[in-house]
């Protein structure tokens, strides 16, 4: 049995990819495009899952793709392929050019303004290859699942534990002379187990993810947390319909902030399909709320020097003292709105909501009686009106302490009111995603149940 480490990318490979992406741009020019943007990505990795103490799946990943956008004046066409050969490059450019031939002149279409492109490329420390053999990965997954399964006798079954390690190499170039790339890694460990007590069967999970395997929570801890979360849900019941205060745990709160970001994205604003139209400079959160973007954080999951069109990412306050300072714009949406790009083509980078109000335990004390939401299911969010209605599970809280688990309930309100009615932001920030926020305490929502 070989014990091969996953694919390792070197700077040499990055140089070759930067040459390849130049070939794409040259091809676009030779087929008549007046401007072009191109990208190539290659990634590889290993995913292993274990269930009931034994390996269940071993997956080797290795994928590649190239994409090109061509402009003929203000007409645009896009094409992509998983084949990186010179023949595929020619054919992909031809497809993009054909499409551009049918597109309509759009006065706002085009590459970013040259002075907006990133010019500085500090090392963000995103590349930490994990020299993990298949056998080691299996051992780790088994250890993780074992710690969950043996945590308590009410843990009766398992969906397994998984170990993933990925490394990717991406380059982006355009005909304004931008040509850059970077190598990054992402590793994770996850576990999902079932518990049973009487007629109640429940499942929950936990995961850890990071750029550097040394920053992951231990396999044992991930398993224990999965078990704790599952056990906590056993015996859950519904609630009667009521109005009450609500606390979103950090992992649920990131979705809540995500809806806000969706509403201030250029695409939704220029289409007038947002509940945050004309809110720039207005109070949209209470005064103690600060939301800022930190794209250059070392090792963070959302870090980047430039956005998906090469525009420099910037550190900025999107909301300060509760007032909306800026939108989330690409070059295109900015032009549609008569504004400047904010370096957010492709989204935000490490969005942070500053804590204000203490630990989650302190928030629960402050709430007294109310609902602690630990899981949300379904969509149920209307970005045009802000109307919000989602399925939920969690705990009913009495006197600041968890009283009993609840499920089969919905929480509903309007996002504009919900944001204004935030009472506190916990210090228990979840750093596993691109949106970092602690528990969020909202004064009043409608909870429906049986």
């Amino acid at each position: 049995m070989t014990n091969k480490a996953p694919l390792l990318f070197q700077d040499q490979g990055l140089l070759q990819l930067r040459e390849r992406v130049d070939e794409l741009l040259r091809e676009a020019r030779s087929q008549g495009a007046s401007a072009a943007e191109a990208g190539i990505g290659i990634e590889g990795g290993l995913s292993v899952t274990a269930r009931l103490g034994e390996v269940e799946t071993i997956e080797n990943h290795k994928s590649q793709s190239l994409g090109v956008t061509v402009y003929f004046g203000r007409r645009k066409g896009t094409a992509s392929s998983t084949d990186l050969s010179s023949k595929a490059i020619r054919e992909t450019v031809t497809s993009a050019c054909t499409i551009a031939g049918y597109a309509t002149e759009d006065p706002h279409a085009g590459l970013p303004e040259p002075d907006q492109l990133a010019t500085e490329f500090p090392d963000l420390d995103l590349n930490h290859a994990w020299d993990l053999g298949v056998d080691e990965a299996i051992e780790l997954a088994v250890e993780c699942e074992d710690s969950a399964r043996h945590y308590h006798s009410d843990i009766t079954n398992s969906e397994g534990a998984g170990v993933d390690t990925h490394q990717g190499m991406r380059v982006l170039a355009n005909s304004l002379g931008f040509n850059h790339g970077y190598i990054s890694t992402r590793h994770s460990l996850s576990c999902s187990v079932l518990g049973q007590r009487g007629n109640s069967m429940q499942r929950d999970y936990w995961y850890t993810v990071s750029r550097d395997s040394r920053d992951l929570e231990s396999a044992r801890r991930v398993g224990e947390k999965a078990a704790e979360r599952t056990l906590g849900r056993l015996g859950a019941r519904t609630l009667s319909t009521r109005q009450c205060p609500v606390i979103y745990t950090a992992e649920c709160a990131s979705g809540l902030i995500g809806h806000f970001i969706g509403a201030i994205r250029g695409g939704n604003l220029y289409r007038k399909s947002s509940f945050m139209l004309d809110c720039l400079g207005k109070q949209v959160f209470p005064e103690f709320i600060r939301i800022h973007e930190q794209p250059l954080l070392s090792k963070a999951l959302g870090s980047s020097n430039y956005d998906s069109e090469g525009v420099r990412c910037r550190t900025r306050d999107i909301v300060s003292e509760g007032v909306l300072n800026g939108y989330v714009l690409s070059s295109y949406s900015a032009r549609k709105l008569g504004m400047q790009t904010t370096g957010n083509a492709g989204g935000v980078h490490n969005l942070m909501v500053e804590p204000a109000g203490g630990s989650q335990a302190q928030l629960l004390q402050q709430m007294g009686a109310g609902l602690l939401i630990t899981e949300l299911i379904g969509q149920g969010v209307n970005t045009v009106t802000g109307d919000y209605s989602r399925g939920a599970a969690g705990y009913w809280v009495e006197d600041g302490e968890i009283a009993f688990p609840v499920e089969e309930i919905t929480v509903a309100g309007n996002l504009r009111d919900m944001y204004r009615n935030i009472v506190a932001i916990g210090s228990d920030m979840d750093v596993r995603g691109n949106i970092r926020v602690g528990s969020v305490f909202i004064e009043d929502m409608t909870v429906a149940g049986g």
Partner: protein, 482 residues
């Protein structure tokens, strides 16, 4: 017929450009079978997709993408090894096979559930929809929809029309070397509108699609009908009042509201969850899980429907599988791995998003058979409740059985009549008992218009749903009006 022509065409479309010969495929399979595996397969795929988007009255964007590659899988007991390559060439495939055989450390050669090889008429023509009409006609279709839709009402602010076509060709090679192929066309058109009245905005959206070519949208005036439907929904919602909160009688309209079945019942009846005992339906075959008016099937063999396939992604012919018959749980949906481990036959539900993903049991077209009631009679029987006519998406926790689906168009029912429209709200219930509360089933079975996409473990596949009008005596409605 399904087998020979589709296979020859698939082989031609995938293999010819690569230069890979049958003997190369045999070598890869031999490499796989050098290890003690219970099953092995190679899945070749070549897929082309295009999309066109009209917005602000102009053709704003178009894209074209090509994805091709091969996935190599080996199964040993409950264990699976998997690797794939974007290059359909001998050496990467041999490498992939070597990686896969690592799984077989303790494997024993078991017996595979034999796959019956029948033949039947193909469900859809093996065409390339991207080539079905010239690009100029695609563009003029979008422009026409935009023009005609904008004429419908002065309150329309924004019209977005998108057209997508997929030409997906797959070739599955089983461990016995047998090959099965399928050429899968898929088209989809969507119209979404924003309307404004006195500073209040609302969105409406409608669309459809099928496994055929783009002419589907010009036939029977379908494309313009999507525009009319999107505008109608948006205008209804402009007048919507706060939705009620709490448990009440809910009447679901026919067609797309069948997403209820997909979430509440369907996922919980997929073979993998039941083999592992993680579903709220595990071990409940033969038990009552629905009212006796309820018969629910999953049928991948409906002609041209979005969720249909001639063969699944393991080469097994799709079929009509009875899930619930007159309220009694009858069976699960299976892929080869879970069927073998549970000692039953595969049901043609082994599906995967692409060659870069592992297959698992997935739904195709899931629907409830019609019942005895006139839809009007059903509404008249309700003193106070909610009538939900249209839905967005849904989700389920298969272990606790709790599911949600979100209404996008709903009305209050008062004294047997539909009265005011209410805002969209999420409905939540418990899968194993929601259908036991179905007290009336309409005689008006409808399928959705061909818009469904189902996600599971990060993999998306096209699906369909259908149902007649249903009355549920108690479901929690997540509005804001207490």
């Amino acid at each position: 017929m399904i087998s020979e022509n589709s296979l020859a065409l698939a082989r031609d479309l995938i293999m010819s450009p690569t230069g890979l010969a049958n003997q190369d495929i045999d070598r890869v399979m031999a490499e796989l079978l050098s290890a003690p595996l219970d099953d092995a397969d190679i899945y070749f795929q070549s897929s082309r997709c295009e999309s066109w988007v009209l917005e602000d009255g102009i053709i704003k964007e178009g894209s074209h993408s090509i994805e091709q590659g091969a996935g190599v899988r080996g199964v040993s007991g409950e264990k699976t090894g998997f690797a794939y390559s974007d290059d359909i060439e001998l050496n990467p495939l041999l490498d992939a096979a070597r990686n896969v055989t690592r799984i077989a450390r303790s494997g024993s050669r078991g017996t595979l559930a034999p796959v019956t090889s029948r033949s039947r008429a193909i469900l859809y023509r093996p065409i390339d929809p991207l080539q079905s009409i010239p690009d100029s006609e695609k563009v003029s279709l979008l422009n026409r929809i935009d023009r005609e839709t904008r004429k419908l009402d002065a309150r329309i602010e924004q019209v977005i029309v998108s057209l997508v076509g997929v030409h997906d060709v797959v070739l599955v090679v089983g461990q016995d070397g047998r090959q099965a192929g399928d050429v899968r066309p898929l088209v989809r058109l969507n119209v979404s509108v924003i309307v404004e009245q006195n500073g209040k905005r609302e969105r409406g959206s409608a669309g459809g699609g099928a496994r055929t070519d783009y002419r589907y949208f010009t036939d029977e005036d379908r494309a313009l009908e999507y525009g009319r439907e999107a505008v109608r929904q948006a205008l209804v919602n402009l007048d919507a009042v706060a939705a009620p909160a709490g448990n009440m009688v809910v009447v679901l309209g026919p067609g797309w509201p069948g997403i209820l079945l997909h979430e509440a019942i369907g996922h919980g009846l997929e073979g993998d969850f039941n083999r592992k005992g993680t579903s709220a339906f595990s071990g409940r075959i033969g038990e009552r899980v629905a009212g006796d008016l309820c018969t629910v099937v999953d049928d991948g063999s409906l002609p041209e429907r979005r969720g249909s396939l001639n063969i699944d992604d393991e080469g097994v012919m799709t079929q009509n599988t009875v899930l619930i018959e007159n309220g009694i749980l009858k069976g699960y949906m299976q892929d080869k791995l879970n069927a073998r481990l549970m000692g039953v036959q595969p049901t043609g539900n082994g599906r995967r998003e692409s060659y870069a993903h592992l297959p698992m049991p997935r739904m195709t077209n899931t629907y409830m058979l019609p019942g005895p009631h006139d839809p009007e009679e059903i509404l008249q029987s309700v003193d106070k409740g909610l009538f939900a006519r249209n839905f967005g998406g849904g989700q389920v926790d298969i272990t606790s059985g709790k599911f949600v689906f979100s209404a996008s168009e709903a009305y209050l029912i008062e004294k047997g009549k539909i009265t005011r429209p209410v805002k969209g709200a999420t409905l939540i219930g418990n899968g194993p008992d929601v259908l036991t509360r179905v007290s009336m089933v309409g005689n008006d079975l409808e399928f959705d218009s061909g818009v469904g996409t189902c996600g599971k473990d990060g993999q998306s596949v096209p699906v369909g749903v259908g149902q007649p009008t249903l009355k549920i005596d108690g479901l929690t409605v997540g509005g804001t009006s207490v």
